[in-house]
């Protein structure tokens, strides 16, 4: 019983990370149909920066956290400008896939060059205290992922639904031509989406480094997991993404424990392929695409 609870909690906190990264994909994909394939590497960068600022630079925890998130957010602004804008030429263009992959391997290789293969865990302000529920011992620093991601999600939804930038993002996602006609620069809105997406990646990485050792080569597999989450849920469905992220996190924890860790990856990607076959718009997607006359 206690093992099950422990697995569930650690699965949930991993799932939270997946959801956070996948939301980053979703933010930009709905706006202009592109996403940053190097999102995983950005998360890695957020983690490495966090560790660097807090442990090596001895900056206060929250300052390091903010700095890591901000730097990654701004970096994504540059990525949008360089690797996306020129290649965003409608639904069939795939150049941006390649250009952002190129960005990803450059980030990873440069990070390896500068940082080396070292990895470390940033001490969490939650300390190493344990939470004891029904005989299970759960680290607070792991458990805290849940409320943090929940708060971020609420903020994101509020931003999306209530703020004028949120409205503009949704409007651009819906009809870019009409936004241009209103005299609003849609390039600017796309850039905002990318900054937000980068912030999420940076926060995800910084958060991650408080409980896991973030190594330089973790970016790619992490990014792929998050893409799987986005595909499973439907890329334009934020709530579904959170659900899919949590479910995936938990299933991985249990499969890893009771079946095998090698099988775990095959399970995830096999599932993604099946979903793409049966429901290419995602499992939780009810909305049909609207065709213009």
């Amino acid at each position: 019983m206690s093992l099950i609870l422990q697995l569930a909690i650690s699965g949930l906190s991993v799932g939270c990370l997946y959801a956070l990264i996948a939301l980053g994909y979703s933010l930009t994909f709905v706006v202009n149909g592109t996403l940053n394939m190097s999102q995983g590497q950005l998360v890695m960068l957020g983690g490495v920066l966090m560790f660097g600022f807090a442990e090596l630079g001895h900056l206060p925890f929250f300052v390091s956290f903010m700095l890591a998130a901000l730097i990654v957010g701004l970096l994504n602004l540059g990525i949008e400008r360089l690797a996306i804008r020129k290649f965003d030429k409608g639904v069939n263009s795939i150049e941006w896939v390649l250009s952002t992959i190129a960005v990803g391997i450059i980030i990873q290789d440069v990070a390896l060059y500068v940082n080396g293969p070292d990895e470390g865990v940033t001490p969490s302000p939650m300390g190493d205290e344990m939470l004891r529920i029904a005989g299970a011992g759960i680290y607070w620093k792991e458990f805290v992922f849940l409320p943090v991601v929940a708060v971020l999600l609420v903020l994101l939804i509020l931003f999306y639904k209530k703020s004028h930038w949120g409205l503009w993002l949704r409007a651009t996602a819906d009809n870019r031509t009409a936004v241009e006609i209103m005299g609003i620069s849609s390039n600017k809105i796309v850039a905002v989406a990318y900054v937000l997406s980068g912030l999420l990646a940076g926060i995800g990485g910084a958060l991650m480094s408080t409980n896991y050792a973030v190594s330089v080569d973790i970016g790619l597999p992490l990014g792929l997991k998050a893409i799987s989450v986005a595909i499973l849920a439907g890329v334009n469905n934020p709530k579904g993404i959170v659900a899919a992220g949590l479910i995936l996190g938990i299933s991985e924890a249990f499969i890893g424990q009771y079946i095998s860790t090698a099988f775990r990856e095959m399970f995830v990607y096999g599932l993604v392929i099946l979903v793409l076959y049966w429901k290419p718009m995602g499992l939780f997607n009810a909305r049909k695409t609207i065709v213009k006359v």
Partner: protein, 238 residues
């Protein structure tokens, strides 16, 4: 209010507008008619700034706005209602209208926006009924009312209308045209591109018939209505 002189637009090898002159006063409607591909939509896009003219001058209230971006012209009070309605289908009716404001909604503007909303709903009670519906569920006529209201909410001095009758039943077209007439009466200058030539000329003061990128005919609406050449040019006969 609006003065266009010698406007030329090229898309690569295509010469879309070949020297077009248009004059429009405050509170006036000018109808632009012509066959498909004659260059009517390009004219509107050039005024708003979505298309860069290659030559010519566009002035708004005496100030040159040639080659200004759509962002700037719309701040100066130019609004375009595009062809084919272009609503934000996945946004609600109210959100669509809020897009028309183009500004951040603060505490002051919020009250102002609500006042504007009331005016819109007074004019089109059907939009009030549907204010919380997603726009793609509206009928064609309701969508046209929505985009017209969306353009009006920013209180433009110059309204550019592109084929507001497109695909609508005659009774709805009448309603839309009545509203356009009212807007002009309230002081907005309106440049109306329309395929229903007679309908458009019935509310416009002046008419311009565009053929193959230049003005083939122009004059007061009554004169044009009685001109045989108009139908011929309009139907695209060569």
């Amino acid at each position: 209010m609006l003065s266009i002189k010698g406007l030329e637009v090229r898309y690569g090898a295509i010469h879309a507008l070949k020297g077009v002159d248009v004059e429009l006063k405050e509170g006036e409607i000018a109808a632009v008619i012509g066959s498909n591909g004659a260059g009517k939509t390009t004219l509107l896009q050039a005024v708003l700034g979505l298309v860069r003219p290659n030559a010519g001058v566009i002035e708004l209230g005496g100030k040159p706005i040639t080659r200004m971006s759509a962002n700037k012209t719309s701040n100066l009070g130019v609004s375009l209602v595009p062809e084919g309605r272009e609503v934000f289908g996945t946004l609600t009716v109210t959100e669509n209208l809020r897009m028309g404001l183009k500004k951040k909604i603060g505490s002051v503007t919020k009250r102002q926006f609500e006042k504007e909303l009331e005016l819109v709903f007074e004019r089109f009670p059907r939009l009030h009924e549907r204010r919380n519906q997603l726009a793609f569920t509206l009928s064609g006529g309701e969508q046209q009312m929505l985009v017209l209201s969306r353009a009006m909410i920013s209180k433009p001095r110059l309204l550019l209308l592109d084929e507001p009758s497109l695909g609508l039943a005659p009774i709805i077209v009448n309603e839309i045209f009545a509203t356009i007439n009212e807007l002009a009466y309230e002081g907005t200058a309106i440049l109306l591109v329309e395929q229903m030539a007679h309908k458009a000329l019935s509310i416009a003061k002046r008419g311009y018939v565009v053929d193959n990128g230049s003005i083939a005919l122009q004059g007061s609406s009554t004169a044009l209505l009685n001109d045989d050449r108009m139908i011929k040019a309009y139907l695209g006969a060569h």
